[in-house]
């Protein structure tokens, strides 16, 4: 028997736990990394992705069957999943790495997300994720994921409209010089840009409910993915410090300083 109604949508939102946006970054003395003993929170672009998924459900109602959130990271990353669950996601997937493991690269993440999608009982129709993470600013994972899966991709989205009956999405992309509208067939990878939406605070009733929502745990080996880094960070430095200017007391002083700096009249 052919199914009479369109299959309901399953949405996956990968999220990343990063150093918080407001923290002042300090480079380690060995110049190979940054001080990570600071406040962490969900990547702001991923917050926007979670918000978009929740709003999609608000618009399409029951047509959105599930919103799953996924993260790859140490045990603490589970907090980030809880935040996403508190925003309205249904369940979480935690691909756990050891505390001391090096930060996984975009290609590894893309492979892990692909493997997780393939492990799901029901097919995923839509992946919404941040366009980049604010710690490495790589901006590659979404595109690599779409490539590995062979799916459509619509990156830097500032507006997403989903037609669940026809399995098509209309996405407005932010590009240099303006906006571009693309029509994409599902399944689709969307990466979010800043103007897509403003994420909600996690409400208390939802925070309470989130505690009871399920989180599946996997190891990278369960998913058959090798997360050994293939890139080596050679050096990390801070940008050159700005030296303050000085105020001069008079025009004569200004002229004297200009002359001393070797600037002469043309």
């Amino acid at each position: 028997m052919r199914p009479t109604s369109a299959r309901l949508l399953n949405v996956l939102v990968p999220v990343k736990r990063c150093v918080d946006y407001a923290v002042k970054i300090r480079v380690n003395p060995d110049q190979k990394g940054i001080d990570l003993s600071v406040k962490h929170s969900m990547n702001p672009f991923d917050e926007i992705a979670v918000e978009e998924a929740v709003r999609l459900r608000g618009k399409l109602k029951d047509a959105v069957k599930s919103i799953k959130v996924l993260t790859v990271g140490p045990p603490k990353a589970a907090e980030t999943l809880r935040t996403a669950l508190a925003m309205g996601a249904d369940s979480g997937i935690h691909v756990e790495l050891p505390e001391t493991a090096p930060s996984p690269e975009p290609l590894s993440i893309a492979k892990l997300i692909k493997a997780s999608i393939e492990k799901q009982k029901e097919p995923i129709d839509l992946v919404i994720m941040g366009k980049q993470a604010i710690d490495d600013d790589a901006g590659q994972t979404g595109q690599m994921l779409a490539g590995l899966l062979g799916w459509s991709q619509a990156t830097f989205a500032s507006k997403v409209e989903v037609d669940e009956t026809n399995k098509v999405a209309l996405v407005t992309r932010e590009i240099d010089g303006g906006l571009q509208e693309v029509r994409c067939k599902l399944p689709l990878v969307v990466t979010t840009d800043l103007r897509l939406n403003e994420p909600r605070y996690a409400s208390l009733p939802n925070i309470m409910k989130a505690k009871k929502k399920p989180i599946e745990k996997f190891q990278p080996s369960d998913l058959g993915v090798d997360v050994t880094p293939i890139l080596e960070t050679i050096k990390i430095t801070e940008p050159p410090k700005r030296i303050g200017g000085t105020k001069v007391e008079s025009v004569d002083e200004l002229v004297a300083k200009l002359k001393a700096a070797g600037i002469t009249a043309v």
Binding site: A22, K39, Y201, A202, S203, L204, E249
Partner: protein, 518 residues
């Protein structure tokens, strides 16, 4: 309706109050009592120029000839309510320079207004007439910090936020925090005994300040910049200067005890259906949060709506705020993240229980950015009120059980005078430091008019007196409330204050016409 005590106070002050109640008090007019002070002259300018750097002098007099509009920021207060007519702003760079200026002014009987960030809300930091403005902005160096004791010694002109930024890498925080932190000076904070958002947890400046360096009205430098936590040797003179609003001397240096930065902080905003839930909620929070409670702030629906309307912070969703008449912001600060979260989680489960009916909903900050945003809603209310119109501010201490009543009665009173309309009183909002018993009643008016002023004063002061409250919980008296002092302090107290003023400042040059009634 007034208690006997309040009635006595009201009658004692009434004659002086009536004379000064008109709007003209806001401008230097003949109603202000003369104090035998001299105006600044070109000869004085010449004298100051002989020992101050040119960039330390702003004067419309010759030969400086600074355009008058460059002095406006110094002459006008933050609310745009009080406008001075000073012809000279001096910005000394050292305590020595401050001393020389003050000594000279004392000899020449020139009135001085010490000025910090000029963020005061009672017209205390701007001239009433053409007094000389002594800005502490250039006295802005941090002198020392001891990371073991947490004792910070800084020049009075240091901006509070810059001290916060300095302390952060050392893992310490300032014991006070207020919305004006980006502009206010620590010297001003001390001179006004600023309260702020952390008083609940870290106490007042009367406790946190360990020592002061003050230039007395005759120019003498009083160096009591102690860095000792305990020192019981003689009368504690610094307590007189803390909160004296610049009328007893100029604070030039501050030694202050700074707390360790909490390892874990959380912010929660709770939506309550009505005022009846606020006090029971507060009792539970105080008990269950115990030592980790660092703030319990309060806003009524109108204050919240006004703040988010003017973009002060990101709003909660419609679902969360539906039907809520009051909002409470709770902050916790503790040493252990998991421990604090567990305490908070248990509290929230308890108060969210539909059987208790205390809280309809709320939000918990999930990141430092959200933490800042929730606080911004509360901290941004004064600015939002200022955008809505001209602000009448009543910062009062009254029993918390009267927090709703004072607003309702004021609103009813304005309604009875026919003043609740778009072209008169646009907004009546209340918010404040619930945990400290301090409410800010704000009225946004289309314009400052004698009619609105007459409707509000002394009505609000009398209400406060009837509750045995303070007419100025933390803003101070400044110029705005000299006539209201009698509502919260008796004649004996006021007479003693006048004697102390006469002792310290016989020529009356220090911030004249401020604090004490004339």
């Amino acid at each position: 309706m007034l208690s006997a005590v309040a009635r006595r106070r009201v009658l004692a002050r009434a004659p002086v109050w009536r004379a000064s109640s008109s709007l003209l008090r806001q401008r230097w007019a003949s109603t202000t009592v003369s104090l035998n002070l001299n105006s600044v002259t070109e000869a004085d300018l010449a004298h100051f120029s002989s020992f101050l750097a040119p960039s330390s002098i702003l004067s419309t007099l010759s030969p400086s000839n600074t355009p008058a509009d460059e002095l406006t920021a110094f002459n006008n207060d933050w609310m745009g309510k009080y406008k001075g007519k000073s012809t000279m702003v001096l910005k000394p760079r050292t305590t020595e320079e401050v001393s020389r200026i003050v000594k000279y002014c004392n000899e020449k009987r020139i009135g001085i207004v010490p000025q910090g960030g000029n963020t005061g809300l009672v017209g205390g930091s701007v001239p009433v007439r053409d007094e000389l403005i002594l800005s502490l902005s250039n006295l802005n160096k941090i002198r020392s910090f001891d990371p073991v004791s947490g004792i910070l010694v800084a020049d009075a002109g240091c901006i509070l936020q810059s001290l916060v930024d300095y302390l952060a890498p050392h893992n310490h925080i300032m014991p006070i925090d207020l919305g004006a932190k980006g502009s206010c000076h620590i010297g001003g904070n001390v001179s006004t005994n600023a309260g702020g958002l952390r008083l609940l947890r870290y106490g007042s400046l009367h406790g946190a300040v360990l020592g002061l360096e003050v230039v007395m009205p005759d120019g003498t430098i009083l160096n009591q910049l102690s860095t000792l936590r305990k020192d019981n040797t003689g009368y504690d003179l610094k307590q007189l200067f803390i909160g004296a609003e610049g009328t007893l001397g100029v604070v030039t240096g501050v030694s202050i005890l700074t707390p360790v930065m909490p390892a874990a902080t959380n912010a929660v905003v709770l939506a309550l259906p009505s005022f009846d839930q606020v006090i029971p909620l507060y009792k539970i929070v105080k008990r269950d949060m115990g030592e980790i409670l660092s703030a319990f702030e309060y806003m009524d629906r109108n204050a919240y709506t006004l703040s988010v309307k003017h973009g002060q912070g990101k709003a909660l969703s419609e679902e969360e705020t539906e039907g809520a008449q009051y909002f409470v912001l709770i902050e916790t600060s503790g040493g252990n993240k998991e421990h604090d979260e567990e305490k908070l989680s248990n509290l929230l489960e308890k108060v969210m229980d539909p059987d208790t009916g205390l809280v309809t909903s709320g939000v918990l900050a999930q990141s430092p950015t959200q933490f800042e945003s929730l606080w911004a809603i509360r901290e941004g209310i004064p600015e939002a009120v200022g955008k809505a119109g001209k602000a009448y501010k009543y910062d009062v201490s009254i029993p918390v059980s009267k927090f709703k009543e004072i607003v309702d009665k004021t609103r009813e009173h304005l309604q009875s005078k026919g003043l609740l309309r778009e072209d008169a009183v646009k907004e009546v909002v209340s918010y404040g430091h619930f945990g400290d018993g301090n409410i800010h009643l704000n009225i946004a008016a289309a314009a400052y008019t004698p009619e609105i002023t007459a409707a509000l004063e002394p009505f609000v002061f009398e209400l406060v007196a009837s509750y045995n409250g303070s007419v100025s919980a933390e803003h101070g008296i400044g110029y705005a409330k000299t006539s209201a002092l009698g509502y919260s302090k008796d004649q004996t107290s006021i007479e003693l204050m006048k004697k102390i003023k006469k002792l310290f400042d016989p020529n009356g040059i220090m911030n004249p016409w401020k604090v004490l009634p004339h």
